[in-house]
Symmetry: C2
Subunit: 307 residues, 2 copies
């Protein structure tokens, strides 16, 4: 019996999401072949320069969704803004790493309750790539603490995602923790089918009611600064049908952000300024119009998902 | 017997520090009447703008001592600098409040161990003026956690002081905690005889081996921006003999600091820029020379005190 149910579960999970009935675009009422994007700003709350650039991009309408890092010192600024702008599509960017050198943060949960998440000085680990053994129970405690702080401070998140994808792409145990907590708080989690091949446990854990984004686009360190716009233009022109989340990192290339990220150019101040510049450009709007690309938010996906 | 010893202790403590033998200036080998100052930058680690301005002022030689806020996100930046510059007179600015609105921090110790220090969202209280009941045992735990993190990160502090003077000027219980911890770590604590009248427990708790600064000068919100230099010039010209600590707050009036302090101008970005400007000015150096004012550091006071 156990074996048969496992086999059935695997078969079930292996079916494409569309086989459950409708695609996301269908549910939203768009005709087959429609191309939709979420233009999503990451890392709000990390620095003021990221908050300021993201707010400007959200207000100018070029970015239509974003997520916030609760453990970071500038979270109160963006939480206050979110509280005053309940119409904006803000999620929580669940954060269990503190990847910079000169500017760092630690857990929201009590330090002695989440020792596996913290380094010897009490900050989150720089990364989880050096054999750090993260206890899923501690990860759960910390995730709940981050959501609860956000709720207590008046934020009403529309979705969850994971800083540096660590909670999604590390292992099944951590992903199952996020999914369980997300179900409890009735929040969708950013997962895309693009990741299923490399991380088969994602598809295995997701249920028919979970929202799964069709594709994602994010720029990487292999793209030279002078090819920034070219990369995004190609991505927009080659966009596949369905919902694609553009994961972008707006920020202002100022003294604060340059100093906070100075040990490494990847996702640094100039990088974030380039993202801000492209997604604030008239060119970006023109391509959306020319290519008949529609914008969608996590809130809209949730509402459509609940139909 | 108990009564007699208490009376003796009170009498002993009530003697002026000089009555123990020598003044601080004597111990340093200066003739009677010499006027010495510590030009002390506060709040390092709080923001990058404060770190950058303080480092510049320390390197240009106009500021000769400073202290750092261990719980703040930019502490790693200044700790790294301190580690690479062991000759600089860096102390720890023990911090148990998080006084701003949009940019905040919490305890170094485990949250569940220091509940009386934290607000409902897990940040330090904005202040202790609304009936917050701070448990001295929790304050001690937090102070030790801050010192231990600094030591673990390679900082070798020369002194301790207290952010917003809260640990010194609130009550005897908290002051006794700081003094006990300071004795254990063999570090002097910034206390000046200027505060004895208003807070008699200070003099009562201090022993013959404790360093007590003669006077302190710090600018307040009652001084208009256009009278900034005038205030400091008058303070320097009217300086009393002995050791005076100038408690100053250098910072750059940039986007980060303006945003972090925007709800209140006192100790805000423009204030800190004015402090940076005056203490970096040729005028300040000229007055020191004209008035024959000598500079002294906490490290020198400690060495002299141990003679």
């Amino acid at each position: 019996m156990i074996h048969r149910s496992v086999v059935l579960a695997l078969l079930w999970a292996a079916l494409p999401v569309a086989a459950f009935g409708q695609t996301l675009a269908d549910r939203l009422g768009y005709p087959a072949g429609t191309r939709l994007i979420i233009v999503h700003a990451d890392d709000l709350g990390e620095t003021h320069a990221v908050n300021a650039a993201s707010i400007k991009a959200l207000e100018d309408g070029t970015v239509n969704s974003a997520s916030m890092m609760v453990p970071c010192p500038w979270f109160p600024e963006i939480a206050d803004y979110a509280k005053r702008h309940p119409e904006i599509d803000f999620g929580l960017h669940l954060t269990l790493t503190s990847e910079r050198v000169f500017y760092r943060w630690g857990s929201v949960a009590s330090r002695d309750k989440v020792p596996s998440l913290l380094d010897e000085n009490g900050y989150f680990h720089h990364d989880w790539d050096r054999g750090e053994r993260v206890d899923p129970k501690e990860a759960e405690l910390e995730i709940r603490a981050q959501i609860d702080r956000a709720l207590a401070m008046g934020v009403r998140p529309t979705h969850l995602d994971s800083h540096q994808y660590r909670l999604i792409q590390t292992n099944k145990e951590l992903f199952d923790v996020v999914l369980r907590v997300a179900h409890e708080y009735k929040l969708p989690v950013f997962v895309t089918r693009d990741w299923f091949a490399e991380h088969p446990y994602l598809e295995a854990s997701l249920g028919a009611d979970d929202i799964v984004i069709d594709h994602t686009v994010t720029i990487g360190p292999e793209i030279k600064p002078e090819h920034w716009a070219e990369f995004y233009i190609a991505a927009l022109k080659n966009l596949q049908p369905g919902v694609t989340e553009f994961v972008i990192h707006p920020g202002f290339d100022d003294e604060e952000l340059r100093s906070a990220t100075r040990e490494r150019a990847s996702w640094g101040a100039a990088w974030r300024q380039r993202d801000f510049d492209f997604f604030s450009s008239p060119l970006f709007r023109q391509i959306l119009a020319q290519q008949n690309i529609k914008l969608v938010t996590w809130r809209e996906l949730s509402h459509a998902g609940r139909k």
